[in-house]
């Protein structure tokens, strides 16, 4: 067998410890929790808007109004986001946060500079 070491996953023993200690199942997370703009960026926008799938938005001077419109309508290949997922107030704050952010790096937003990606992309369903 060629190649390097098997990829170990941290926490195998920790999981066992948790399982042994758990006297009751972990319960409940309340719905409708307010999320910060940074959190929304991390768990949604940032997956694509990183110059790999779609262009970076931070530091581009894009207006908050345009962002709000794009989030609701989903231009091109972008999904749309309903108010049940991102409330009007969250979206307004997020758009202002993005518009005010500096560029995260000096990397170009030119799609020609697209970085090769690794990993497969099968089955978006």
């Amino acid at each position: 067998v060629r190649g390097g070491a098997v990829r170990w996953i941290g926490g195998g023993l920790a999981a066992l410890a948790i399982a042994l200690l758990a006297t009751a199942a972990a319960r409940a997370q309340s719905a409708g929790e307010w999320r910060s703009s940074r959190e929304l960026w991390r768990e949604t926008c940032g997956y694509c808007h990183n110059d790999r799938v779609a262009r970076e938005l931070r530091g581009t001077g894009i207006s908050a109004r345009l962002l709000i419109s794009a989030v609701r309508s989903g231009p091109g290949g972008m999904p749309s986001f309903a108010p049940s997922e991102v409330s009007d107030a969250e979206l307004e704050q997020l758009a202002e946060w993005i518009a005010a952010q500096p560029s995260p790096s000096a990397s170009s937003s030119d799609r020609g500079a697209r970085t090769p990606r690794h990993g497969s992309r099968e089955r978006p369903q």
Binding site: V1, R2, G3, G4, A5, V6, R7, W8, I9, G11, G12, A14, A15, I18, A19, A22, A25, A26, R27, A28, Q29, S30, A31, G32, E43, T44, Y47, C48, R52, V53, A54, R72, S73, G74, P75, G76, G77, M78, P79, S80, F81, A82, P83, S84, E85, R111, R114, P116, R117, H118, G119, S120, R121, E122, R123, P124, Q125
Partner: protein
């Protein structure tokens, strides 16, 4: 508020307004959306249909089981059709849009509680609005060492919607419905059914609801997938204990004609359990979308010529067929299995690349799949999802059939062929510029022909977009459709739930 012209079939504007007024009393005025702008997010399409073809009349945002029951009572009273969505992200199959224009979206995204995670028995109970991202964060924050299995758009979608559509992922728990256990379903008349062990009279709930699927009597859960017989408001999940280690392997086949040998090599390794997760063969064009757009390679009409395609693929280390899978377990378990699979794939002519990275096989969320939508520009995507036996000849048969018809329509062939076990799933992504109405019509003609040709060759469609649900239902014959209609009449006599879903239409009493 501006009035929309789109109305439910057979319902006047006055009746709809009356119903919406009552719905506002159920869910709150701010949770009933009507008018062009508020409904925009529900109208976004990737499929080759015009945006107004599947316009909803309104959207109702429910936050609880009681609100869902209240909404159903009003809609039964006025016979308003409702299209339930969980996250509304059925990309390439219709997203959030209803199967017919004028339905009222029942948006369950706000029902997003993770009700229970049992780290000992490795189960969870979640509501429809929960996303894989949310569940992933929940487990990580609590240091619960369980893995999720998600589709390639995992961060944005959720286990309830994906399971109900019978979606799949890439780990050993890839068949999501097979790893679901127990549903809470609100029937059209407002009664609440808990399936499997969930109907036991134990309080507050049966302790084995998420443990044993079947309970007593007929096993009902399948009736509520790809159907319109109830609104699922809770779903039990089985989660995979994080393996001690894993190793993801890529096998590259340098010739298009190697596809059959690859499938013949994979099948016994899957059936014996040597490989525990589905083995996906991705073609060069699909893999290339990670690195390039079509216009970077070719500016002419018709499919990108093979020579250009393969030259670009070589530049990026992509082969005509790229097989990936993982081995999971302890290092001691992985080592001998790695020897077995390496030998088998090398003997079949494949080039084995160890330590390939694919987050969907190892609990890492990403959205890199979205660059697929950039291939042709214009954001158009419709899937052709078909099934055959896991035989080399059928893999080739499906490839040739799809590629031939797509080429006739001037479209590129981007596809995976995945061996789950005995079954092989062929998934072709038809990407196009949906800004051009002529292109949309052209793609629709192409999909219509694909559906017909695949069915005639015995390759059934296993999941269909809203614009082809009737066409696909017809390929399964009249008896199947009549049984569906009988169930629909029994469970939803007013036909208010998602008319047209999977080709099952309302038959109003």
């Amino acid at each position: 508020m501006p009035s929309r012209t789109v109305l439910p079939a057979g319902i006047s504007n006055l009746v709809l307004e009356r119903a919406l007024a009552e719905l506002r009393r159920v869910v709150g005025a701010d949770s009933v959306l009507r008018g062009s702008e508020p409904l925009l997010p529900y109208e976004k399409l990737m499929i080759p249909a015009a945006q107004d073809e599947f316009e909803p009349a309104a959207a109702v945002l429910a936050s609880s089981l009681a609100e869902v029951q209240g909404v159903l009572a009003v809609c039964n009273k006025y016979r308003i059709p409702l299209w339930p969505i969980s996250t509304g992200r059925n990309f390439g199959y219709g997203s959030a849009a209803p199967a017919t224009a004028g339905q009222v979206i029942l948006d369950l995204k706000r029902m997003d509680r993770i009700l229970e995670v049992d780290p000992v028995l490795c189960t969870a109970l979640v509501e429809p609005g929960v996303t894989y991202q949310q569940l992933h964060d929940y487990l990580r924050e609590r240091k619960i060492d369980l893995w999720l299995d998600f589709p390639a758009d995992g961060p944005l979608v959720g286990p309830v919607g994906n399971t109900l559509e019978r979606g799949t992922g890439r780990t050993p728990y890839a068949d999501h419905f097979a790893h679901a256990c127990g549903m809470e379903v609100v029937l059209a008349d407002g009664r609440v059914l808990r399936t499997g062990m969930g109907s036991l009279a134990a309080q507050p709930k049966s302790p084995s609801w998420q443990i044993f699927k079947y309970g007593y009597g007929p096993y009902l859960d399948g009736l509520f997938t790809q159907s319109n017989f109830g609104v699922v408001t809770k779903l039990g999940l089985w989660l995979m204990p994080a393996p001690a280690a894993y190793r993801t392997v890529l096998v590259q086949y340098s010739r298009d004609e190697d596809l059959a040998r690859a499938v013949e090599t994979v099948r016994p390794l899957r059936l014996s359990g040597t490989i525990a997760n589905p083995c996906t063969l991705a073609n060069a064009t699909l893999r290339l979308t990670e690195f390039a757009r079509r216009e970077d390679l070719f500016q002419g009409s018709g499919p990108v010529p093979d020579g250009l395609l393969l030259a670009a693929a070589r530049q990026h280390g992509i082969a005509p067929w790229n097989l990936s899978f993982s081995l999971y377990g302890t290092p001691e378990q992985i080592a001998p299995n790695l020897q077995i699979v390496t030998r088998a794939f090398e003997d079949s002519g494949g080039r084995v690349v160890l330590d390939y990275r694919d987050g969907t096989q190892s609990n890492e969320l990403n959205l890199r799949a979205f660059s697929l939508l950039d291939w042709a520009g214009g954001g158009g995507l419709i899937w052709l999802a078909t099934v055959s036996a896991a035989r080399g000849a059928d893999a080739v048969g499906q490839r040739d059939l799809a590629r031939g018809i797509l080429a006739q329509y001037g479209l590129d062939y981007l596809a995976t062929e995945t061996v789950y076990g005995r079954d092989l799933h062929h998934l072709a992504a038809i990407v196009f510029d949906r800004r051009d109405p002529q292109v949309r019509l052209h793609v629709r003609d192409c999909v219509r022909e694909l559906i017909s040709a695949f069915a005639q060759n015995g390759y059934g469609i296993e999941r269909a977009s809203i614009d082809f649900m009737d066409a696909v239902a017809r390929t399964y014959g009249e008896t199947r459709r009549e049984v569906n209609r009988t169930l629909k009449r029994a469970l939803d006599p007013n036909g208010i739930l998602a008319p047209g879903k999977s080709g099952i239409h309302e038959e109003r009493s």
